[in-house]
Structure formats: structure tokens, C-alpha cells
Amino acid sequence: MTKSQYYIPIGPIHPALKEPIRVEAKVEGEKIVEADVKRGFAHRGIEYMGMKRNAIQALYLSERICGICSISHPYAFVVGSEKALGIEAPPRAQYIRTIIAELERIHSHILWLGVVAHEVGFDSLLFWTWKGREKVLDVLELISGNRINYSMYMIGGVRRDLKESHIKALKEMIDYYRIFNQEMKNLFLADPVYKARTRGVAQLSKEMALKVNAVGPTARAAGLRMDIRQDIPYDAYADIEVRGIVPQDIVGEVYGDAYDATLVRIYEIDQSVDIIEYCIDNLPEGKIMAIPNYVVLLSKIKRTKGEGIGAHEAPRGEVIHYFKYDGTRDGPAVWKVVAPSYNNINSWAPLLLGAEVADIPVVVAYIDPCMCCNDRIAVVRDSSGKIVDSTTLHRMAVEKTMRIKKELGVKK
């Protein structure tokens, strides 16, 4: 018999992947018979860096763990640090935090919907959804001054207050998304082509979701009712009684596939809009920082010994930060970050088994992977095995650009 098994590496750099990761699949014909995932291509040793810096510097660093859900890590950071240090944020700050976190959920979910539309080959839908995402990014820019990396949170509160003009813009945005989300439901959920492409693909059973430790919309699409906002409510979520959205509540049955994941995410946008509306209607008055002076805050951290776990339900699932402050320095002695994709990527290997090669992008995309969250030292060595430092790397990059320009004949 001729050789029938082939090895297909996908990534780390591949047109179907937006971020670097490698899926190594063995295929027989179109069927995948073995799959392995290699991570770490975007590992930057952020936890290691954070343990050498003070808590406020590490907070800003945590925001740069992920470029898409840039507020999820600071949220878990502040919740965990406040538990460890015994600080409590004022009610107004807690409400503002919740509003920002939900704004981010809206933009992240719409981003995913666009990506998955692209993965199934429906590019006009990608452009349409991303056009709708601009609205929430504009509001975030208005409130924080940035489209991403909002730098809103601080241990014990928030750095910027919500003004009347912000609330007006938020109300306008709420009306916009009520209509836009209805249109998305029609376009995604009622579309026969989208349904045919996603129904039954990347199907995860409830038992499997538990075993692989899946979190967030991936677990909820499999019918697991888990959501940090519901299980360990914090900040304004404790006032609102948030309930995890599962497909059995919406359509009465669970498949646990990419279609259900779409369903869960679209309905979560509705939920986020409702949460934001509740928060701006019930926004308490008062101050926004428990300890407004950073020097005082840092000296308090330096004097406090304590440990704490901070959890936040990010758009992709739960983010967990563990802190240990040892009372000798003003930063964390131990900082451990677990991001949603860290857990959700576990589901790829079982899901890819028996799937077809064409399904790989959908399987990879349906958990909404975020590699920069998942990986958190990169060292480059030259041909003799010596480590190349960043200055040399930069010089080499500039030289290469010059060389390419010359070869291509680019003048200026």
C-alpha cells in the first residue's frame, strides 16, 4: 500500500492565523487522525517582568498582555490586588469599571463574529460587522482617549470619571446596538449558508468541556452554565444578578458547535447592552479612588503582606490572576496569569480528531484564540549560539529593510 498518512504543519506563521501558533496535524486523506498544538511563539515573559516592577507599573504591563481585551487583565489585576491588600474601591468606581468591561465585551464579540465570517469565507459580512464595531470604539475613545489600552483602572478605583457627555454618548450607543444586534442575529443565525458551514463543526460536549477545563463562551456554548460574573459576582455585577447565557435557554437545545458559540456571543452583546444601561441609570455619586495618591498607595503596598486571587469574566472566558505581596517591596512577589485561551486551546486536539482539513480554521477560530494572552521570553541566537541583544536586532532589521528597498528599487 502506498503511504496514506501525511503530516501537515499549520503555523506558526500562516495566512489563516492572525497570531502565531502551530497546529501539527497528521492526515489520512481529508481526515485528521492526530493533532498536536505548540504554543509559546508570542511568549514575552510578562509575569517575570511584572515581578521586578512595582504594582502600578505591573498594572500597566498587564494591560499590554492582550491587544484586544486590554481591560480584562487589569480588571483581574485590580480585583486580585484589592483582595490581597484589603483595599475597597468606591461604588462609583466599581460601576465605571463594569461599564468599561462590558463595552469591551461588545467590541471583542463583534470582532470575533467578523473573524469567523472571514474564516468561513463570507468576507462582506466581515466588513459589515467591523463597521458596526467602530461605534463602541468611538465611545471608548471618547471616555478614555484610546481605542485600545484605555488605562482606566487603578488599584482601588478608576483614573477617569464619567462625564455627562460620556453618558449621552453611551445612551446613543445603546440605541445603536439594540438595532445593530438584531440585524446581526438575522444575518448570522438565520443565514442558511452560515448555519451549514458551522453547524456540527467543532462540536464540544458538556463532559469534554469540563474535562478540558474550557471557559467562557466556549464552555457556555457546550451548555455549561459558568460565568465568573454569576459564580463569584464582584463590583456592579453583584447588584445586577447576571446569568450566564447558554444555548438551552435560547433555543432549547445544545449542540456545542461553532453555531452555538455564535449564538451565545450574539446574545451576550444584548446582555452587555442591558448591563451598561443599568449601570448608567444607577450610577452612584462619590469619589472614584480609594487612595488617590500613588505614593501613598505604593507605600501601603510595601507595608502589606497578603495573597489574593482576582477573577474576571473577559469576553473570551475567565481571566485569573494570583498575587502574593510579601511586605518588602512595592510590587508583587508572585504574579501568575491564566488567560482564557490558555484553557480553551486544550479543546483543539480533541476537536480536530476526525475533522476535515478545511475545518481547521473554524476549529481554531471558534474559541476566539488570543495568543498574546496565552503566551506570556523570547531570546534570539545568532549562528554561533550567542544571544543577540535588542539593539543588534534593531540594527539588523534596519539593514534588512535598506537592502530590500535597494533590491526592489524603492527610491524614498
Binding site: Y95, A236, E318, N346, S390
Partner: protein, 182 residues
């Protein structure tokens, strides 16, 4: 079925006996206008009783593994596991945090991947970052570190097995880089 933090602690106390070294129930009040209590069970156990403690937790409910982490505290490594019990029930999730000290001469722990497949990622990370061997862990390939990572180097260690000599700036504080001026 859900249990309170005290009840979980009692069950663990009864089954572990003397192996339970330290115990604490941490209670936080969370929320803005309507406060809620949230409890966590923190225990420190003898390393020999680790597997028994985990099995006891799995008997109560199929947990969700929050994280496994560790710290180099000189002679020992302190390994920390956190499990979430009773997730999926509003306001009822309780974290059970297990700490154990591993002497550097014998860095071995039993795996929990037979109980929970997803723990493989966490165990492989701890294995490459701290050098703890997990008995029964099947896949031992590097996960986050490159495949050609030098042997006997563990990024989270603070002793001679650490990586301070491999990195140029990231391990220094801003003060050190600027030569004492901040």
C-alpha cells in the same frame, strides 16, 4: 448540591488528618451597593497527601482548575493549586487553594491529568518553568518555551537554575537600568 466553605474544610480535615498543616477560610465582601460574601478555602498540606486531597475534591464536585503556580522560596518550592468548586451556580462558587512545599532535592508530584485532561497545559507549564516533574504526565514537550531551550534552566527559579544570565534588561528594575537614578 452545594456546600459552604466550612463544610468543605471539615471534609478535608477528616480525610487528611495530620497531613493538613495550615488552614484558613478567607471571606471577602464584594459588590458595590449590595454586598455579597465570597469565601475561599486556603490549606497547606503535606506533599504526600496531595493526591488524596485532590481526589477528595473531585468527589465533592467536578472542579474547574483555576491555576497551578509556584514560587521559589529558598530551600523549597511552594506549589499552589486553585480549584473552583460548584461553578455554574449563581454566587456559590468556592475556590479551594492547596499549597504544598516541595524540597528542591525531590521535585516530584503526581499528575492530575488522569482526572482532568485539561490540567496537562498547567502541568507542562510548571514543569518547564520551575522544573517540577509530574509522575504520569505523558506529553513532556516544551509548551511555551522553544523546543531548543537549554536543559536545566527554569525561568521562575531564583537560584542557579534561573535565567538571570540569559536576559539582558527584562529582569532589571528601571532603577538598575538607569544606573541608580529614577
Amino acid at each position: 448540591m452545594t456546600l459552604k466553605a466550612e463544610e468543605i474544610l471539615n471534609i478535608l480535615k477528616n480525610s487528611l488528618g495530620d497531613a493538613l498543616i495550615e488552614q484558613e477560610i478567607k471571606t471577602y465582601s464584594l459588590g458595590a451597593l449590595r454586598k455579597r460574601e465570597c469565601s475561599e478555602v486556603w490549606i497547606k498540606i503535606d506533599r504526600g497527601a496531595f493526591r488524596k486531597a485532590v481526589e477528595e475534591i473531585f468527589k465533592l464536585d467536578y472542579p474547574h482548575l483555576h491555576f497551578i503556580t509556584g514560587e521559589d522560596v529558598g530551600e523549597n518550592l511552594e506549589v499552589i493549586y486553585s480549584f473552583g468548586l460548584f461553578h455554574g451556580q449563581p454566587g456559590k462558587e468556592i475556590s479551594v487553594v492547596i499549597k504544598l512545599a516541595l524540597p528542591k532535592s525531590e521535585l516530584v508530584l503526581p499528575t492530575i491529568t488522569d482526572l482532568m485532561m485539561g490540567a496537562e497545559t498547567n502541568e507542562r507549564e510548571i514543569r518547564e518553568m520551575l522544573g517540577v516533574e509530574f509522575e504520569g504526565l505523558k506529553k513532556k514537550r516544551h509548551l511555551f518555551l522553544p523546543d531548543d531551550w537549554p536543559e536545566g534552566k527554569y525561568p521562575w527559579r531564583r537560584d542557579e537554575f534561573g535565567v538571570d544570565d540569559m536576559i539582558k534588561h527584562t529582569h532589571k528594575s528601571v532603577k538598575e537600568i538607569r544606573g541608580g537614578k529614577e
